[in-house]
């Protein structure tokens, strides 16, 4: 992003600005540059919002994601009426459902006599917040009725389970896999890329070749093969971690490349030579001098790697090779929507695709902004 043109005759202002810039820390510089990138700021806000949803998933969900009920099967999204007699008093209508014997679709009719008020911070199913605090408060709920039985913001799936609540849990799973996967990639990338860049020579060549080879292999067949190899009687948790590992095994190459590139260029920098001359140990050089200078790049590259992780998990689960029910993730939700009857009759099942798109866009904008901000040669 360009720096705005100097206002005509702003010599003094420019000078003060120059001074500010010259004494600002590296992080402050980054922040200032980042701030100007509007899309990046929006992206970051969205990402933070989503990760907040990860923490508060149980709170944001109002129905037990596993509570199935055939009589609520395939309910379309329900309208929440906001005003009652001119006052702001949100409510929903009670619904009765029946299968139309001619079309075989489930038909739901709202009962205008039955108005159920919607409450905030209502009571619902029990859960442990952060795994510790037992509570039953949720963002919204119904008064006088169980949320599972009356409130359907995004409709229900084939088994009558509330889609919004499942989406909340799906967000939690998918985003954490994304983070974990990226973390593993990061470790692999930094270690291997660092060794490659720092020590050079034969080690460098070998690692470089390995990276090249890995990058030339079409990833999906490899994933498919690895995922198909997972013992099918593993628990959901085990499969979850295995999938994360598999995905991260391919992602590390990009990070390693960036790390190596940075190490290589930084090695020649004057300040490193100065540190060496002063007698600092290798470790000290790496930790106190090298790492801070490429940290910003790493952060940028990492952020840009998360979307790939998310899409990988979604794709694998979609193929039936990744997470499977009863696990709930975006991929699993989409897999359950990948059929004709969903598309033709209950398209709201595809709503899981919306957060996928939004998060990926947001992460890309954020990563772009970080990368631009971290690049010392940017304007």
């Amino acid at each position: 992003m360009d720096r705005p043109e100097d206002p005509a005759g702003g010599q003094e202002i420019a000078e003060r600005e120059e001074e500010r810039i010259s004494v600002a820390t590296q992080w402050q510089l980054m922040w200032w540059r980042f701030r100007r990138h509007r899309l990046a700021m929006i992206g970051t806000a969205v990402v933070l919002l989503f990760y907040a949803a990860v923490v508060f998933a149980d709170f944001l969900a109002y129905a037990d994601p596993g509570a199935s009920e055939a009589q609520r099967s395939l309910l379309p999204p329900q309208r929440i009426h906001l005003f009652q007699d001119g006052r702001l008093a949100p409510y929903v209508y009670g619904l009765t459902g029946k299968r139309d014997p001619m079309t075989f679709k489930r038909v739901y009719t709202p009962d205008p006599e039955k108005k159920i008020p919607v409450r905030f911070f209502a009571r619902g199913f029990e859960y442990r917040f952060l795994g510790v605090f037992l509570t039953d408060r949720h963002l919204i709920g119904l008064e006088g009725a169980r949320a599972e039985e009356g409130l359907f913001v995004l409709g229900t799936d084939e088994q009558g389970r509330d889609l919004w609540s499942r989406l909340m849990y799906g967000t939690r799973t998918s985003l954490t896999i994304g983070l974990l996967g990226v973390a593993m990639s990061l470790v692999l990338g930094v270690v291997l890329g660092g060794i490659s860049g720092l020590y050079g020579g034969l080690l460098d060549t070998v690692i470089q070749r390995i990276i090249e080879i890995l990058r030339s292999i079409p990833t999906i067949p490899l994933w498919m093969g690895l995922a198909a190899a997972l013992p099918n009687d593993w628990t959901v948790m085990q499969v979850y971690f295995a999938i994360t590992l598999i995905i991260s095994l391919v992602g590390w190459t990009e990070l390693a490349r960036v790390v190596r590139g940075r190490f290589l260029s930084l090695r020649e920098e004057d300040f490193v030579m100065a540190a060496e001359l002063c007698g600092s140990s290798r470790t000290r050089i790496i930790v106190s001098h090298l790492i801070p200078s490429f940290l910003s790049h790493i952060i940028a590259a990492t952020t840009l790697a998360i979307p790939a992780m998310i899409i990988s998990e979604t794709s694998l689960s979609f193929l039936g090779l990744g997470l499977r029910p009863p696990a709930i993730s975006w991929g699993v939700l989409l897999q359950q929507a990948q059929n004709i009857q969903a598309l033709a009759i209950s398209p709201w099942l595809l709503s899981a695709s919306v957060p996928v798109i939004i998060v990926i866009l947001a992460l890309n904008f954020m990563g772009d902004g970080l990368r631009d901000a971290a690049d010392p040669y940017g304007q």
Binding site: S68, K98, V107, T109, Q159, N339
Partner: protein
């Protein structure tokens, strides 16, 4: 449905619909063997279930046509001198079929979808009139087929089959008793090809044999009475299932084979080096794998067959195409040689969604296989637009998703104890809300209940056994579980094990079910069992692993369909553990039964032992007695709940029929059962294109 109907409109429509379906429901009840003894309550989908009907055979030789006609495409070949005239091609004693509605027209290509080389049954079931005996369209009465007549000796030790004089293979060679002897002597007794004798061809553990009487008569003989054998010949079994089906996919069964063609692939008729050379040249490892691909009608277009259509483009290509067999033995009552339809063209669908999408788009003319019940609303929506109709054919088996408890389970003594306790199983059964399952996964069209077969079958123990132990009764279930000693529960309401090792957890094993989503059903059952305090862990696995685990006796409860079990003596494996090939109720027990105690481990449960003994005695009993034996066995099975049934008697398995409006002689309802080789009992050779 642009606008949601008002409440009043909706209620009115519902009432009309209910009345309409009640009316429609009353009609099939009028025909004897169709839907059951009493009129059923107005069931959803009844308007899509028609009257059971089908073509009949004309057995009286005096009524057979004297002059014959043939399809135009064959007439041309006769004119060109490539085929002998139709009188010489049709047997002197043809199979005369009275078409269901009218004499048909020749011509047309039947478009279908299939899913790959493993989907042999897709074509097998259409051409199964190469069976020695068959059933009528109700699936209850044995009829001649390839055989003109049969007679069972009074002592039940032999069945004499009379073949049709003048009958020929699809390449014009005569079909005689020699083809039976060839199969018996050169294939069945050849240990390289058939390592162990097949239980279907045994009585009391002793192998049967075939003897030629003359060119058109063979006798199947046993050392002990085997009254069941007529049913075996008529059913979908290794011996009676027809050469096309039973020699397909590497098997070597079917009771007869084209000797004049298969000879060249056997070492005996040339030399081992010769056949090995031929095999290698064709890319096969050995003469055994080569010959198995040669006698496979779906893979080898040159194989002579007796079926109405034969393969021209094999099954392992993107299109499996069948064309009419000019020597087919069937004619209609006017003397027209069957089949009417010239060609069957099956296109490969990469996955089931694509197949269903093509069906919806009207790219198939008649498809009952792989069409999913869950997509019924979409099928119905597109009917008028595209020009097809939808029919539902309920099956006869009690449960499409059956919880098979492993009666030989040992790995965890605590769990084993409970699996072997009747009241435990009954409680589990009563904790299942079958109506919920029915509504969610069978669009409400199935019948909730036990594993017992349909009431219309002579094997049925009676209507009261549908609901025994098989209705939702959470109170009684909880009471039973408390009574047997599982009364202690943990903080979350789950029952604890009595050996102090924590919560009682049952493992429910599923595989990606072909016609019904077993895993999701298991998930729902798991939710339902929360109310009776039982925790279930659902484990989905790939099919081969599913069966491997079952074979090594590792599973606790496995979810599978029980189709085929409705004709108990022909396909018992889902009702009783006695076939080591597949015994979800306990492989060690099956081994023990099959080896007469030499291998495996017998059951300790006296009622299971009694059921198995009753089964063993069935071969030696005449038909009416056998029915009674079956009824007694079912009574035990339902009362003991070794297999917990959920929802069945449904069209989920090959019962959703998409029929193009252009086809004629299509029955309103056809018997949907394995032994009837659906759709074969409706004689697809009589289907025709109206224009």
């Amino acid at each position: 449905m642009a606008t949601k109907p008002t409440r009043r409109e909706f209620l009115r429509d519902a009432a009309l619909a209910a009345g309409g379906t009640a009316l429609a429901g009353a009609l099939p009840a009028a025909t004897a063997s169709a839907q059951g003894a009493k009129a059923p309550e107005a069931k959803i989908g009844a308007q899509l279930i028609g009257k059971l009907e089908g073509p009949e055979l004309v057995l009286d030789a005096t009524k057979w046509p004297k002059k014959f006609a043939e399809a135009p495409m064959l007439a041309e070949m006769v004119k060109a001198g490539k085929l002998p005239p139709v009188e010489k091609r049709v047997p002197d004693e043809p199979m005369v079929v009275k078409p269901l509605h009218s004499i048909g027209r020749y011509g047309g290509t039947w478009r279908r979808g299939f899913t790959g080389p493993g989907d042999g049954e897709n074509g097998n079931r259409i051409v199964s009139t190469d069976k020695i005996l068959f059933w009528d369209y109700t699936g209850n009465k044995v009829m001649p087929c390839v055989a003109k007549e049969w007679k069972q000796s009074d002592d039940g030790k032999s069945v004499t089959i009379h073949l049709r004089k003048g009958m020929k293979w699809s390449d014009g060679a005569p079909f005689t008793a020699n083809d039976f002897m060839f199969w018996y002597e050169e294939v069945y007794l050849n240990k390289d090809l058939v390592p162990t004798p097949h239980p279907d061809f045994m009585a009391n553990g002793k192998s049967g044999s075939i003897r030629k009487v003359d060119d058109f008569t063979v006798v199947f003989e046993f050392q002990d009475p085997n009254f069941l054998f007529v049913d075996i010949l008529a059913g979908s079994t290794a011996i009676g299932g027809g050469q096309a089906t039973q020699a397909q996919a590497g098997r070597g069964m079917g009771a007869y084979m084209p000797a004049h063609y298969i000879k060249q692939f056997l070492p005996k008729f040339s030399s081992k080096e010769e056949v090995e050379k031929k095999a290698k040249a064709a890319g096969f490892d050995s003469w055994v794998s080569y010959i198995k691909s040669r006698w496979d009608w779906a893979l080898n277009p040159e194989l002579p067959v007796l079926t109405p259509w034969k393969t021209v483009t094999p099954i392992n290509t993107p299109a499996w195409v069948l064309e009419r067999n000019p020597y087919y033995m069937g004619v209609d009552t006017a003397g027209n040689q069957l089949p009417y339809i010239d060609r069957i063209s099956m296109t490969l669908a990469e996955n089931l969604e694509v197949l269903n999408l093509r069906a919806i788009a009207g790219q198939y003319d008649l498809q009952e296989r792989h069409t999913a019940l869950a997509k019924l609303p979409v099928f119905l929506e597109n009917r008028a637009k595209v020009g097809y109709d939808v029919r539902l054919d309920p099956a006869l088996n009690g449960s499409d998703a059956t919880l098979q408890t492993n009666q030989a389970y040992e790995a965890d003594p605590e769990i084993a104890k409970w699996l072997h306790t009747s009241d435990f199983r009954r409680a589990l059964s009563m904790g299942i809300d079958r109506d919920q399952l029915n509504e969610t996964f069978w669009v409400g069209v199935g019948t909730s209940g036990s594993v017992a077969p349909a009431e219309s079958l002579p094997y049925s123990p009676g209507p009261e056994w549908r609901k025994k132990w098989s209705t939702l009764d959470v109170k009684q279930a909880n009471a039973l579980l408390d009574k047997i000693g599982l009364g202690k529960k943990d903080g979350e309401g789950y029952r604890l094990r009595t050996d102090g090792k924590g919560r009682l957890r049952l493992e429910l094993q599923t595989s990606a079910g072909a016609f019904v989503p077993h895993t999701q059903i298991a998930e729902m059952i798991k939710e339902q069992w929360k109310k009776i305090g039982v925790q279930a862990d659902v484990k989905e696995m790939e099919r081969s692993l599913f069966f491997t685990r079952a074979a090594s006796n590792e599973h606790q409860i496995a979810l599978w369909a029980n189709d085929g079990s409705e004709v108990l003596f022909l396909f018992p494996r889902h009702a009783l553990p006695l076939d080591p090939v597949q015994a979800l109720l306990g492989t060690p027990i099956a081994r023990w039964f099959a080896s007469n105690g030499a291998q495996g481990k017998g059951p300790k449960d006296p009622r299971m032992i009694s059921a198995l003994e009753m089964y063993r005695s069935a071969n030696g009993k005449k038909t009416q007695e056998r029915y009674k034996v079956a009824q007694e066995i079912w009574k035990i099975l339902v009362d003991e709940q070794y297999s917990i049934g959920t929802v069945g008697l449904s069209p989920a398995t090959m019962g959703v029929r998409i029929v193009s409006n252009k086809l004629g002689n299509i029955p309103a309802r056809q018997t949907n059962a394995q032994h009837a080789r659906t759709p074969c009992s409706s004689h697809p050779a009589t289907f025709f294109y109206k224009a």
